[in-house]
Amino acid sequence: MIPATLLTNALLVGAVLFCLGLVGILTRRNLIVMFLSAELMLQGVSVTLVAWSRYHGDWGGQVLVVFVLTVAACEAAVALVFVLQAFASTGRLDASAWQALREENLPRVIDHGLPADDRVVPTWPHLSPAGVLPEGDDSRSLERDHV
């Protein structure tokens, strides 16, 4: 069992994780990042359940977290299949690509002036070539059955 101070601090950590996941799922538009945010919310709930379970000396909370893990695995499998299907039909991982499904009285999301890609291009290590490039026939490279 854990002291009450550790309980409250663990509850605080769980609350912070839950709220961060909530903000992420509300704002982000990438379907994968939305799912990561949902998993973050699940982590916050897990921390809370385990803290209460340890505080009360009862195993119910930890058993529930085991089932949370199970359901998260199922959910991820099924959801990723649907994400892949959605990507196959639109070519984007964008939640707003499906805004034709919105309510009729809601306004349409239009992207005004997307920001420029201001990433710093990383400098990759330059590797010196080793050996000689084998003479290859590009048209037959897919039919090759041995290296």
């Binding site: 069992m1 854990i2 002291p3 009450a4 101070t5 550790l6 409250t8 601090n9 663990a10 509850l11 605080l12 950590v13 912070v16 994780l17 709220c19 909530l22 992420g24 509300l26 704002t27 982000r28 538009r29 990438n30 994968i32 990042v33 799912f35 990561l36 945010s37 998993e39 973050l40 982590q43 897990s46 921390v47 385990v50 379970s53 009360h56 000396g57 009862d58 119910g60 930890q62 085991v66 089932f67 893990l69 998260a72 695995a73 991820a76 499998a77 099924v78 990723l80 299949v81 649907f82 892949l84 299907q85 990507f87 991982l93 964008d94 707003s96 920001p115 890609d117 201001d118 990433r119």
Partner: protein, 276 residues
Amino acid sequence: MDPVAATTLPIPGLLLAGSVAALAASLWLLLPKTSDTVNSRRLGFLFGAAALIGFAATGRSLGGVGADAVFLTVAGISVISGLATIVTRSPVYSAIWFAMALAGVSGVLLVLGAQFLGVATIVVYAGAILVMFLFVLMLAQPSGMAPYDRVSNEPMLAAAAGAVLLGLLTLSIGRLSAAEPPACCRLPSRAQAMAAAPTEGVGSEDDRSATLLAPATAGVERVDADEVAHLGAELFGRHLFAVEVAGVLLLVALVGSIAVVSRGEATETDHRRESR
């Protein structure tokens, strides 16, 4: 809640309000927007650090766990990585930050004394689920950032809502710890143990029910040596039917996902056959 309890709240109100405001500002500045500059992001990091310190101080005012350096470290890792998960623009980096957050959460669970769940979080989440996410990312979006990763829906409203929700949760946690020493939280635990003891006492040793009956006082040993054995006994004893249902759920998810994929392919080939 009577006003007396509200006045004896252990959380300084100004500190909490300041942390909530700093968190909202930090989230708003850090979330991907059209008007992003490097300086606004730096300001966001600054506000985020202020909010982190504020919430750490709030947690410290709720109890002296500030002395527990291990808990502070893993909690900090999980919270910072969670923030980075939702504000990073590249989804691949977001997934990797999520793995870091999982490592932190696993550390928190270990500090809390749930050894099996701490390890299972790493193995199941970081080892299996996250790798599946990365697979899908690599299949669908191999070229890094897309335009829709650089904007977000209503960042200001969502940041304010999340920060206010966190403030309310913190307030209720503080109220909980203010009302804790008198009987509020201890009685249910003992009653729960009483209710649980007869069902679990069958075939189990006596010292287990003795630990169940002990009140939750500070200074009790934190780490249970037979934690995994007890969890397994509970899981396959009282919750055996639920375990079976979870197994069926896993099977159905497996079959269902394969069915969805293969049905989509079948319609494609049928379509091609018709068009020929």
